[in-house]
Subunit: 188 residues, 2 copies
């Protein structure tokens, strides 16, 4: 999507040719007009979706937009911190490594809300190493749910995320794929 590439070029901040800050329009403040265009594009890229699955926190807004565009399919978000209320036998669990924060965290989804045979579209703001999506795919497998694909706002194409997902036969669609950072600018 040209609009996402242009917005990343205009408003994204690259630090040390490594980290891309997009907190003016994606993961702190969110440009809702752009979110709606992104949601339409991603929703139109997948078929027969029964449920949207994302991971807290910054995937939730875009997942909401895609769920609306798909005709009000339910949205489920995996939780990072364990609530006191949760029975560990009542949840599917996966371990996800965060690239930017260099920590591992456990994410959980209630067994009540992910069922065998459901076609699940995974939505997230970023794809880099693919760890979050791999964790969510693992949770879908545990539930016997089918993965309709992975829908991403911004992909770092020079990291192995897409290859790791496509190896599993999962369709990946990103609104913008960054080939490299050069002189602290993204190149598409």
């Amino acid at each position: 999507m040209k609009e996402v590439e242009e917005k990343v070029l205009e408003s994204g901040i690259v630090i040390d040719n490594d980290i891309l800050k997009v907190d003016s329009f994606i993961n702190h403040q969110i440009d809702i007009g752009l979110l709606r265009k992104i949601s339409k594009y991603l929703a139109n890229s997948f078929e027969n979706v029964d449920k949207i699955l994302t991971i807290e926190t910054s995937g939730i807004a875009f997942a909401t937009g895609v769920a609306i565009e798909l005709g009000d399919v339910p949205l489920l978000f995996a939780k990072k911190s364990k609530s006191k209320i949760v029975d560990p036998n009542a949840v599917y669990t996966a371990v996800v490594k965060s690239f930017t924060r260099n920590i591992q965290s456990e994410v959980t989804v209630s067994k009540n809300y992910l069922k065998k045979g459901e076609r699940v579209l995974i939505v997230d703001d970023f794809l880099a190493e693919g760890n979050a999506s791999l964790g969510l795919i693992d949770i879908c497998k545990q539930a016997g749910a089918e993965v309709a694909g992975v829908a991403i706002v911004v992909e770092k194409g020079f990291q192995p995320g897409r290859a790791r997902l496509e190896e599993l036969g999962v369709k990946v669609v990103s609104c913008a794929v960054i080939k490299e950072f050069k002189d602290n600018k993204p190149v598409f």
Copy 2:
């Protein structure tokens, strides 16, 4: 809103006449059809809103819906965990006590995205003691922004949240107000 009351009665689970679990349609799995009706209702209750402010995590989906209904106003969500990337002088900070988890956490908003004179609508899934909203109002004050009001999905009317907000002159609109829990059922 009748629909929210009915859904809480039908799908909410009350534990010990104290804790209301709504994770089948509000804060883990989200009923997107209901979210859209809630978003319309809340958006129609406020005027001249420049920006939506919420707090991670479970307010984000509803805040996204309200932002869309208000004609694509920007959405800003306060962050609970401090990113390594963030300069402490670059953020507004408030301390928020969580009622259900009994912990205090610091929430931050970048000074770049909240400006003097902006009319800000605070959106959240729950209102009980009002601590999250009070923290966000404090952040708006620090920025010199004006609070257009607080928009809530489910309010526990027997807790002091609303009174504490209205004391500050802040308009509060909730889709459903629970008067009490009786025999582990909410009463509206």
